[in-house]
Assembly symmetry: C2
DNA sequence: TTGTAAGCGTTATCAA
DNA sequence: TTGATAACGCTTACAA
């Protein structure tokens, strides 16, 4: 049987390499070389080929090339649902910028959603369609009994250290940032602190909690001085923290939050009840999202190097794809820094004025 | 010449379809059928094949399949830099959800950046590697003399109506939303209005300006009653609008903003100077981003159906890819609605109290 | 420097 | 219901 081959005129699939070859009166190999190693083709033929390419509007069929070459210049980026958009968008921008200037395209993947969709993401990794994977603040659970790290392509994890030695991790110094948050308040004189955390099983939270607790001990704070409140990294976590705050007979004067959304949710809620920030209570956030500067009052917070987190991860992946073994030692740790704004101040004096609602 | 074919043991490229066929003692055609049309294979062989697939951990090579089948189950999503993350992230979520449940993967593309990167995005469209394209609030300029809409695959535009009849557009009723913004203020009694716009050549802004102007005329406002301020859709646009506000000898009492960021930037700035919102000045936003609810005061704004904008676009694309001509008439228009919160109120009475800074 | 031709791993056609 | 086999469009030995 012979499937009829399309003649010189291209049908709906566009021109192929041999259309170009025929038009330029060279072989397909030469056309291919013009595209991949122009210098290996004599000037004259090269311009002829280039003209033919332009005239026909030829673009190589990516599937055919991938099949032949065994790589696709595609990277899968998996964003965990734990990563809030104001945070992850900036990380993604770093990734995308770095990757696209190296000629890679980015495929978006979620690992939440139903089993079916999760499996499809894992299939993607195993389908030889990908050159590498970046995971943002998530631990990629296996789906369908297979894990993404076993797919045989480089994996980089941002914000979370995966225990697998094959994955390169780019981390933030969670513990020392959390310690900085607390220490800033204790240095101001605060002695009763509420710690508004994310989910306690969250990777980052575990490390931040440790940093917080160590710093608290070092500052001489006891368990009685500290209220723990587990939030959800959303505004509502801050709202429930505010309710917790109001329920206390002796209220904390300093609030350490594990991200900015919760800090803002807290502030909004207590202010609505007449509590002044920072006169009555000081609040420190974590992340340094854009809004931390424009909320009321502007938020003292830990500025994460969000863009750099993404860009660094992308660069690590690129060199891992390139096969360079000397990628650097794996946990590459970036540093956050405290930005002092208007949501923090000295604690109210011992003779606290009771404020009533409404000015 | 004969390239040595790998023997039964798979090397680093993973098992292929004929490894499975051999293990299950069937032909490759049967394995392929088990995957694409399971019912056409006898029960017994099918289970044998399935077992072999599981045992070997086989995943079809996507490049080979794409080459053969001529489609890739991939969609390119281009996000214009005009689309702020708080807005676009939600649109993207709608797209991603809809697309991934239909089995499509999403490739991220920017059409800003240098010519080189832009061209790579366009190449992607022409490389037969894509089944369709979605553009979010951007007009895809041609790169390298070729436009994305000529690539021969379906294109959907969200938030912007492209003039090309081949592209399906999902729009917001910009004009009537802007009219609603203004009318809400005039109904409250405001008579001097400042309109803080995005860049005036922006597609959405053009329509919003028209809606605003029509509504202003209808409300009997004259040019003297209106201050136009061109912003940039960022916080700084709101900040500069505030400077403009302060520079006026007679200040407007109502501010209509073309997005929430500018509204929040404006509020933050004027409040810092002691102006009260809404007692001294009312502010209306546009978009309904998450933060509009948690800023101070919470923002009266137009809630855009961000998720639905994305989901609707994705569904339209999917049916266009499926080749159904009856996709529906092209400009599909979704509606925003006004959410009244705390940033708006009646204008200050004619005997305006001059307020000084600091309580 | 150029051309010839053998695959890359699927799917789909045809024949059995 | 199954199996043999020809493409899909490209890259790259190898030969010239």
């Amino acid at each position: 049987m012979t499937t009829r081959r399309r003649s010189s005129r291209s049908d709906d699939t566009g021109p192929r390499i041999d259309d170009v070859a025929r038009a330029a009166n060279v072989s397909t190999a030469t056309v291919s070389r013009v595209l991949s190693a122009p210098d290996s083709v004599k000037e004259e033929k090269r311009t002829r080929v280039l003209e033919a390419i332009a005239a026909l509007g030829y673009t190589p069929n990516a599937a055919a090339r991938n099949l032949r070459v065994g790589s696709s210049k595609m990277v899968l980026v998996i964003v965990s649902h734990r990563a809030n958009p104001p945070f992850s968008a900036e990380v993604l921008r770093g990734i995308e910028t770095e990757l696209s200037s190296a000629g890679y395209a980015v495929i978006m993947g979620n690992l939440h959603g139903d089993e079916d969709r999760r499996r499809r993401v894992v299939d993607l990794a195993y389908s030889r369609h990908l050159d590498g994977i970046i995971v943002i603040s998530g631990n990629p659970q296996a789906a369908g009994g297979r894990s993404i790290v076993d797919a045989g392509i480089p994996v980089v994890s941002i914000c979370v250290a995966l225990d697998d030695p094959r994955v390169f991790s780019v981390l933030l110094d969670d513990a020392s940032c959390a310690a900085t948050q607390l220490r800033y308040l204790t240095d101001l004189g605060h002695e009763r602190i509420m710690y508004v955390t994310g989910p306690l099983d969250n990777y980052n939270q575990i490390h931040r909690s440790k940093g917080f607790n160590d710093a608290a001990a070092q500052a001489g704070l006891t368990a009685d001085d500290i209220v723990m409140h587990e939030g959800d990294y959303g505004f509502s976590g801050g709202v429930s923290a505010a309710e917790n705050y109001f329920a206390r007979s002796t209220r904390p004067t300093g609030i350490v939050c594990s991200n900015d959304e919760m800090a803002i949710g807290f502030i909004k809620t207590v202010r609505a009840a007449g509590v002044r920030v920072p006169e009555d209570v000081s609040v420190v956030g974590f992340d340094g999202i854009e809004f931390s500067e424009f909320c009321e009052p502007s938020l003292t917070t830990i500025q994460q190097p969000r863009y750099e987190l993404g860009a660094t991860g992308a660069r690590a992946l690129i060199s891992a794809i390139g096969g360079s073994e000397a990628v650097g030692r794996s946990p590459e740790i970036l540093h956050g820094c405290l930005i002092v704004r208007d949501s923090t101040g000295k604690p109210p004096s011992a003779f606290r004025r009771k404020r009533t609602i409404n000015p």
